[in-house]
Symmetry: C2
């Protein structure tokens, strides 16, 4: 159940010394010829590894991914670009490939240069340690404030999709980025990976919120190496797309469950919106409302805050269409507000997940979102002083 679950993938995680202790550098490699793609952060401020890796993906099909934790290599200017290039070059040299075939990802402190001697030694050590059972080590080496490694794998008819991720939620003084690497032995042709990856990311990683902040380093990378040796059919293609979606969804769910300071997972489902875009805007607004998220921390079925958030969801230069007297809200399946009227019910919210269902009663648009709660620990973690 890891990034090496599919045939023809090896991985490793080592302690390079970027961080004082623990593994902090991972390599994932396809041993068979792969094709691939990535979906990147939309932040206008891009970290150096994002700039470099975008160039590499434009120039060649990716065969390996090298990831360091501890230093984000963001806001580091030309030095940062050169360091990311050098990291890719050293990885390529160790693995016998071209630098453009290496994707570089970083997570950690912003505005600090990478300690390149350690990084390059780590790259050599990790490249030498690559193994089919190295997935867990790689998944551990990319963590920052995460409490546990995040891995997933789904087996299809003759193929496997596997992956690893690290959590969203930025913690001072690091920008703890959301990173994911997904691998498969399913046969994809050049150009196809982005077409399958984008919808899978839109339905998973783009529908989660820990704190609504978008990092300079976020990335989801897909490598597909055809090592399954199977023939493609329309049925198998559909099965593969579903498996890819499932792996992304499982990793996204893990990320939210392990959000900084999180004590509960909020499953927000909006239906009956005037359009899909408006359902999305409303779900996102609820998922990022500090008031909804603090209420969740207090296990409070506070539908008033859900209404207030729903009524102020930015859409199309204004707010998404909402009419109070058509609106219904349930917490964990218990209706608390039905077509504009409170039911008087106050469901007890006890589990590790809480569902909030909102029916706008206007049309067919629906969307869902996962969110963590906003807790005292989140504030404490993120208010720590720079030292």
């Amino acid at each position: 159940m890891s990034v090496t679950a599919a045939r023809g993938f090896v991985a490793s995680g080592v302690h390079s010394g970027i961080r004082r202790s623990g593994p902090d550098l991972a390599v994932v490699r396809s041993t068979a010829r792969a094709v691939g793609a990535a979906v990147w952060t939309t932040n206008r401020v891009l970290a150096a590894p994002v700039v470099v890796s975008k160039r590499h993906l434009d120039a060649a099909e990716p065969q390996a991914v090298v990831i360091n934790a501890g230093v984000a290599n963001a806001a580091t200017g030309e030095t940062g670009i050169a360091d990311a290039e050098l990291t890719a070059a050293e990885t390529a040299s160790a693995l016998g490939m071209r630098p453009e075939e290496v994707v570089v990802l970083s997570t950690g402190v912003i505005g600090v240069p990478l300690p390149m001697d350690r990084v390059l030694a780590g790259v050599r050590e990790a490249s030498a340690a690559l193994a089919p059972d190295g997935g867990e080590g790689a998944a551990t080496a990319i963590l920052t404030t995460d409490r546990w490694p995040k891995q997933a794998a789904v087996e299809g008819d003759g193929f496997v999709v596997g992956g690893m991720a690290k959590g969203a939620g930025m913690i001072h003084p690091r920008l703890a980025t959301m990173l994911a690497v997904v691998t498969t032995d399913y046969p994809l042709a050049p150009g196809e990976p982005i077409d399958v990856l984008r919808p899978a990311v839109d339905a998973s990683f783009n529908r989660i919120s820990v704190d609504g902040d978008c990092s300079t380093n976020d990335a989801v990378v897909l490598l597909a190496n055809s090592a399954s040796g199977i023939a493609r059919t329309a049925e198998r293609d559909a099965q593969f797309a579903a498996a890819l979606g499932d792996v992304c969804a499982a990793l996204a769910r893990e990320i939210v469950s392990d959000g900084e300071g999180a004590t509960v997972l909020l499953e927000i489902a909006v239906s009956g919106a005037a359009s899909t875009e408006e359902a999305d805007a409303v779900a996102r607004r609820i998922a990022t409302s500090p008031l909804v998220k603090t209420a969740a921390f207090g296990r409070d079925p506070n539908w008033g805050r859900v209404l207030a958030a729903a009524g102020s969801a930015p859409w199309n230069g204004g707010f998404a269409r909402v009419e109070t007297d058509r609106l219904s809200v349930s917490f964990d399946g218990a209706p608390v507000f039905v077509r504009g009227k409170p039911t008087g019910a106050t469901p007890v919210l006890g589990g590790s997940a809480v569902s909030i269902d909102l029916d706008l009663g206007l049309g067919d648009g629906s969307a869902s979102y996962l969110a963590s709660d906003l807790t005292v620990d989140y504030v404490r973690l993120n208010a720590e002083y720079t030292t």
Copy 2:
């Protein structure tokens, strides 16, 4: 320095019993014939008093404002509308005016009907208690989780602008709305109040953020009664507009300083944006970023989070234009990041206010925003369980 600072205004605050203790109902009235206007919440979910007061303002010039705290009269259906109408009618009857001349505002618990017997008795008591020195009592009666009454007044050449407000930041189980009433004896003609009020609100109340949530009840009301008896000149008009802006700015600043759990006031100034709209989007994004706000709580000059927020400011269907290597950031006047490079400075942030100045280096667009920090107390206050 209150809502009765201008000639021809009286006010009062009484304990009606909507809340267990303390004053909870206020009336402000112009004793000379007034004209007026209001700026309302943009939330799609409107509280009953907002619906009713909008109708009243369409039908007549406002002569009085009645405000209750404790119950927001939001999500209360047709009963809520009838209750708001009845509150206005009782106020009008006590004051010898038409119901349409009364603006009704509410703040407090959502989804709960107003205890109308207490409200109506309170309206009669408050109407009988109206006095020129009643401003402080009125300002106290409209508070919810605020720690102190918010009042301001500015004297011009022969006229006065005064006002009162209550804080933003919603606290469970109440929706603690942002409300403000501004009064002046400056002579305005019918139709003019909205034209002067809107820019004043845009530059003040619309540029503050406690938690980024927008209530169902937010309102700013202006009454102008000409009681100064002065003649208008172009110079006086300009002075009046400035005074109105100053009163709104002072009240807005008080609201942020008293944000729920707030320990520091963040003064965010963005310059050099490609457009004013983009400056506004970037300032707003920084002001609402949980990561920037928790860093402020920790007195951490965390420019990395400021960059990450600036790079992801929603604008025009995408993000506002930002280029890392043109960007400069200062905390309390000390440059920490200059044209794409960290300076290495780590200013000590000790006061009750912290300024964050961001120069995008792209154009002439500028905008400012006030925000409170995100604190452990904010989460605690808002996570309290429904009981």
